[in-house]
């Protein structure tokens, strides 16, 4: 993992730097103040990590807000791919707690709540499914690597704060190769109120990126989304139909103290389908100036993930680029794309000013310089994700590079966008 190796290879803070910091601080403090010693740092607010198994019996599951919220985000998901859960189904899914509540489990073995809380880390892991164990292990490793805890302390922290009680119950889950959307509600009698989710979210033993978690307009009901393409391994092939789906969220429950709770969900027989087309590797010849390779083109109902690499050459290319303002001091010539779908409808990557940019189709994009590789030959790459306000049923995608002037602070000046049709191309999405 990147973070493991970064920690291992990064140099220690030199003594000179430490002295510089201390001296700089001392310089800033006034001479008249009373003498201060540097206090031992206050203990960080306790992060209470509890692993709470879903699966207590609850009343009939309410219809969630998942579909409504997703449509508000500009997405339309195929209904047949949304998996819906009811209370009894959830109880059956969770390993070892079929039809039982934590209270029932306590009464069976005679242990008290206090004794339950003192389970060892291995006992906790033993109560989880295989993929939930993998998720939990990543949580532990993150404490070790990011919070600099020893392995023993990280496990002890989890054990000390382990609570087995009803928490969130899933209502609906949708997952394709790019995104996982879910809705959930608080279990009856639960007095924990999630506020937000930490970024690190775990799906089948893979550290993914939480995008969104919020309470709906119905108290106690939540919706969220997880970006599966931003995981550290960038492998979307980690959930197969018929296998287990295990999701672990780290949820904030107190914005002042930063207390969190771990929410784990497992479906032993995941029956949701995935509809992701992998069209990576497609090469499109430009009309005059070389070709474009789709280094990545993943087409899901929720997103279109794209990375393009232009390899440009041809008579008149230098003059064409210079005509649009390319120079050694302006190598970031191409700033965005405009798009068209197969019906000819036009879209703007970042949206339009007159619509308050609510019509944007791309939230994340990144591109480098146009690199001159030799006389008359250039290379440029760009990547982005189309995830809203675009007709995902379109058969094709037309990409039209654009250039836009920036001000002295580097911000784009509205109204200065100019398309570069010489470099536009069309790619099939089906």
């Amino acid at each position: 993992m990147i973070d493991n190796r970064l920690w291992e290879m990064f140099p220690e803070t030199p003594e000179r730097f430490q002295k510089k910091v201390k001296q700089s601080v001392a310089d800033q403090l006034t001479i008249e103040r009373k003498k201060n010693t540097v206090r031992v740092p206050r203990a960080a607010a306790v992060t209470v990590i509890c692993i709470l198994l879903a699966g207590t019996t609850v009343g009939a599951a309410n219809i969630s807000k998942l579909k409504e919220y997703i449509s508000n985000w500009g997405h339309t998901l195929p209904e047949e791919n949304v998996v819906t859960y009811a209370g009894s189904e959830q109880a059956d899914m969770v390993q070892g707690t079929a039809g039982e509540t934590s209270a029932d489990a306590n009464s069976e073995d005679g242990s008290t709540d206090d004794e339950q809380d003192k389970m060892s880390y291995n006992d906790i892991r033993g109560s989880l499914s295989e993929l939930e164990k993998k998720n939990l292990d990543i949580v532990r490793n993150n404490y070790i690597e990011h919070a600099l805890m020893s392995e023993e302390d990280a496990e002890k922290k989890i054990c000390d704060e382990w609570v087995a009680e009803p928490f969130l119950l899933m209502d609906e889950v949708y997952m394709d190769g790019s995104s996982l959307y879910y809705s959930a509600h608080l279990a009856d009698g639960c007095n924990i109120k999630p506020i937000d989710s930490k970024d690190h979210t775990f799906v089948n033993g893979v550290d993914c990126l939480n995008e969104f978690f919020e309470e709906t307009d119905e108290p106690g009901h939540y919706v969220g989304s997880i970006d599966l393409t931003m995981n550290a391994s960038s492998d979307i092939n980690f959930v197969n139909q018929g296998d287990e789906l295990a999701v672990m969220l780290n949820l904030y429950v107190d914005e002042n103290s930063g207390e969190t709770r771990l929410f784990t969900f497992s479906d032993k027989n995941w029956n949701g389908s995935v509809d992701t087309k992998d069209l990576s590797g497609t090469v499109i010849e430009l009309e005059k100036y070389g070709s474009v390779r789709m280094d990545k083109l993943l087409v899901s109902p929720s997103k279109i993930t794209v990375k393009v690499t232009y390899t440009m050459s041809g008579d008149g290319l230098d003059e064409m680029l210079t005509g649009y303002g390319y120079s050694n001091d302006n190598q970031d010539l191409i700033t965005q794309f405009n798009f068209k779908d197969s019906n000819g409808k036009r879209y703007y990557m970042r949206g339009t000013e007159e619509n308050g940019y609510k019509d944007r189709v791309v939230n994340a994009s990144s591109g480098g310089h146009i690199e001159k590789v030799s006389d008359g030959a250039y290379r440029w790459d760009f990547e982005f994700v189309i995830e809203q306000n675009f007709d995902m049923n379109s058969d094709t995608l037309i990409l039209i590079p654009c250039t836009q002037t920036r001000d002295a602070d580097g911000k784009f000046i509205p109204g200065t966008e100019k398309e570069i049709p010489e470099l536009s191309f069309e790619v099939k999405l089906k």
Binding site: F17, L279, S280
Partner: protein, 181 residues
């Protein structure tokens, strides 16, 4: 927050300030200059810090701006054609026998990518916090992270960092769940 309390925050953040500045500048002398300037700026603007719990994040943001300023200044003093913003060679290599490929590859990322990689993976900030620190949107942070990981992968050809997205390996085999075209 008073100056004494902020002084404690700064001292406690020493290691973090070093890691962030060194990742951007790659030169200890420049790091010392940048952190000195950043501390002075932070104290002078302490009255603008609204929430004490964000003091370290705020200080990191000031430091990053100072580092970028240093890079700009450095760029003006080198010959045309050099791109010191994008590539740094970590100095004092001979003093670091544990110098690694990943370390060198990190220096070849753009300063923006180095910054997000260090803030997210090394310092453990969230995407939201990284966005606040660097002054860009969360979408841009995610994109830079993704791009940086891919660049590291290409430079290192390292499957441990990220599974290769070479053509052969990206043919998804999901047993009928994904339509491979």
């Amino acid at each position: 927050m008073d100056k004494e309390e902020f002084a404690e925050v700064v001292i406690n953040a020493t290691d973090s300030l070093y890691r962030v500045s060194f990742a951007i500048l790659g030169n200890e002398a420049d790091c010392e200059d940048a952190v000195g300037e950043a501390i002075a700026t932070a104290f002078s603007k302490l009255y603008t810090l609204r929430q004490e719990k964000y003091a370290k994040t705020w200080l990191t943001k000031i430091l990053i701006r100072e580092c970028y300023r240093t890079l700009k200044l450095r760029k003006r003093t080198v010959s045309a054609g050099d791109d010191m913003d994008n590539i740094i060679e970590f100095s004092d290599r001979s003093e670091r026998p544990d110098y690694s490929e990943l370390y060198e590859a990190l220096g070849k990322l753009s300063k923006e990518q180095r910054t997000v990689i260090v803030l997210y993976y090394l310092e453990g900030y969230s995407v939201r916090e990284v966005a606040k620190i660097t002054g860009v949107t969360q979408g841009t942070v995610k994109s830079r992270l993704s791009r940086a990981r891919n660049h590291l992968k290409y430079m290192l050809n390292d499957e441990e960092i990220i599974t290769s997205d070479g053509l052969e390996q990206e043919k998804i085999n999901m047993q009928g769940r994904v339509h491979v075209v």
